[in-house]
């Protein structure tokens, strides 16, 4: 027998494999067309913005494009001593165009990021350069301001030569690359981001913990109560979910403020003196309380969906085999809820780590998180590339947590519903 007969043919003589492919082609196309709108939506609203964010966060072409001749001339300069005349000349020519186009301001700002005090030097140069004569630009420029004699300033310009930079990421963790190109920490009084990162992780961790401690009994009750009560309780859990986030946060502000209901109650019970009302808002406490309440349903629902599937006869079996209710709970019931705990904790932690509105409203100075800092740079300083860098660092952090979680517990063990 030849190998030809090894191939299975259909009754029409077409190889079976080919025939199968043909038959399934239509279905495949149909399936793809059905998911295509979603795919397109995801690409447009998710993949493209993230890509844009990434390119923004490392983009440093602005200065490179503003000083093309300078960087060309600087290619041969080793950066040890003052650059030669050609560099000065190129810089003068580049800068002249910028001043003429009224775009010198941008360069001043950018170089000032690199070296403090650069702005005033450049502004002075912008005024004086109109009277420059041809030739010997080195002398003329150095005469405008004595700082031009300082090689540091020229090195600062050179550092901005590459079109791409990771300096924004360093800034996100309170570091920068100094004049020698070494990565060092910023001075201690200016390390604000690291505090924010730590606080963000801390708040997310504790909010997750509080949510877990509160949601576990609720979910258990939901899963074991008879239908008519559990439905009511479920509505109680979901009702806040259906209320606007702002309304909920605002109501916490009413409750927690110094003249608010909670404080009034404390005073009424005599727990605190009227003139010594504790501050429960505009600090971490407010953030904890409001975020825990807001994120609670995200913990309750996965836990509930897992607990619902655990047969009550398992606990009974445990007890009938001689385990006290406590042992039966910890040896039988609890291990079976781990997939729900994993899902709930991951969900709440990831949501909490990027939380914005609530900390912004009730967090005050000591309760704001990294996302508030990102928003600040987006809206106030307009340093979008820095905001993008921090946003990506946050995203990376979440992915790392997810990866660790997958290693420890296994994503297959997550049950969201």
């Amino acid at each position: 027998m030849s190998s030809e007969t090894g191939k299975i043919l259909t009754t029409d003589g077409i190889p079976l494999e080919e025939s199968l492919k043909q038959a399934e082609k239509k279905n495949k196309i149909k399936a793809f067309l059905l998911v295509a709108p979603l795919l397109l939506f995801l690409i447009i609203t998710y993949m493209i913005p993230i890509g844009d964010m990434f390119s923004r966060s490392i983009d440093d072409k602005m200065v490179t494009n503003m000083l093309p001749k300078t960087y060309k001339a600087m290619e041969t300069w080793d950066g040890k001593e003052l650059p030669p005349e050609e560099v000065f000349e190129a810089f003068y020519l580049d800068y002249k165009i910028l001043v003429k186009n009224k775009t010198a301001g941008k360069l001043q700002t950018q170089l000032n990021y690199e070296k403090n005090g650069f702005k005033s030097v450049l502004k002075k140069l912008a005024r004086k350069q109109k009277k420059f004569e041809e030739g010997n630009y080195k002398e003329q420029i150095m005469k405008v301001h004595k700082r031009w004699r300082n090689v540091e300033y020229w090195r600062a310009i050179k550092r901005r030569a590459p079109s791409y930079t990771y300096s924004k990421y360093l800034k996100g963790v309170d570091m920068y690359s100094n004049e020698d190109g070494k990565i060092v920490q910023v001075s201690e009084d200016r390390r604000i981001h690291r505090i924010l990162w730590i606080r963000t992780v801390e708040v997310a961790f504790f909010v997750t913990l509080f949510c877990f401690l509160m949601a576990y009994p609720i979910a258990h009750l939901l899963a074991t109560l008879p239908m008519k009560y559990s439905n009511l309780l479920m509505i109680c859990v979901l009702l806040p979910f259906w209320t606007s986030l702002l309304v909920r946060t605002a109501s916490w502000m009413i409750l927690l403020q110094q003249q608010g209901i909670v404080n009034d109650f404390f005073v009424w019970t005599g727990l605190v003196a009227d003139d010594n009302r504790p501050e429960m808002m505009y600090n971490k406490t407010g953030t904890y309380v409001a975020m825990t309440q807001i994120l609670l349903p995200f913990m309750v629902l996965p836990l509930y969906s897992v607990m619902k599937t655990i047969s009550p006869s398992l606990m009974r079996a445990g007890k009938s085999l001689g385990a006290t209710p406590a042992i039966a709970f910890f040896k039988v019931y609890f291990p079976l809820t781990i997939p729900g705990i994993g899902a709930g904790c991951l969900l709440v932690f990831i949501l909490a780590i990027g939380y914005y509105i609530t900390p912004a409203l009730v967090g005050g100075a000591s309760g704001t998180l990294i996302s508030n800092q990102i928003a600040y740079h987006m809206k106030s300083t307009l340093d979008w590339s820095f905001a993008s860098a921090m946003g990506l660092m946050l995203l990376t952090g979440v992915l790392v947590i997810y990866w660790i979680y997958n290693k420890l517990v296994g994503v297959d063990n997550i049950k969201l519903g």
Binding site: L314, S320, G322
Partner: protein, 361 residues
Amino acid sequence: MSKKADFVKFEKVDKSYDGKVLVVKDLNLDIEEGEFVTMLGPSGSGKTTCLMMLAGFETPTNGEIFLDNNPISNIPPHKRGIGMVFQNYALFPHMTVFENLAFPLKVRKMSQEDIEKKVDKALSMVSLGGFANRMPGQLSGGQQQRVAVARALVFDPAVVLMDEPLGALDKNLRESMQYEIKHIHENIGVTVVYVTHDQGEALTMSNRIAVFNDGKVQQLSSPDKLYEEPVNSFVAEFIGENNTFGGEVSEISNETCKVKLEKGEIIANPISVKSVGEKTTVSIRPERALINPKDKMDNNQKGKIEEVIYHGDHTRVRLNLLGNSEFILKVPNSSQNLDIKLGNEINIGWNSHDARALDPK
């Protein structure tokens, strides 16, 4: 060792869930040590509730349950020392078979060595020797069932409760498991209280069967007695097949009575009727009525064949007899040449002893 006749004792037990309806009414039941007692009944008859009260997951509304003469209503389930096999096995899905079996021993703080010995023994008892390290999810239904039985027995409980343990198995497996459980019971002599709604299962396995209906034990007796001598029409109906005639007693003596039907009259065995004029239901097992009887029988009637269904080992014949068009006969598949054809009129005969005049339906 003499066996205690009332090792497990239900005394005047009532149970109500909502304060309106009694699920179990005035239950009195004695179970002997080492006995295999089945609670049999339709769903909602209160049999599972009784089991749950014995296990400690439900408390009696009134009355008391005794285990070895000790009242147990106030003892929590984990201190009762009663093994239980659940309807859906209730194996712990996150533990291996070994860990499942070791669980009751571990909570009793046995040494690791004893645990291993006992688990090995229990597993070989249900012939699952090599399965100790499997997870329950990797076992077939029958194997899971055996693990559940082994787990309920491994800590040597005085009583083992089984709540419809074979309900989820297919027919063949169910039958072989019935024998297996029966043999295990015979070998180790543990007291078993078994709940089922499957009468075949109950008849095969039990020493005694308690037939439940409407929260009450209708009859408590051995399987053969239950089948041959049902004390009321519910039991007669529920256990096996039976043909019934509703009528009124027209004559009564010690041994027999005459029951007048709408059409005709039959001679019956008075079980629960006492006097003339009482309404009654007469119950006759299909196999007790014969076609063209050779021996003399005191009931002889003519019936018309309305349906013939071939069943392999026997043939079911539906007749119209004395106005009852649901009269069933079971004719064994033998070479006997009986004239069983649709529409034929045939002679049917039975002894008055086998026609039991019970309470009216």
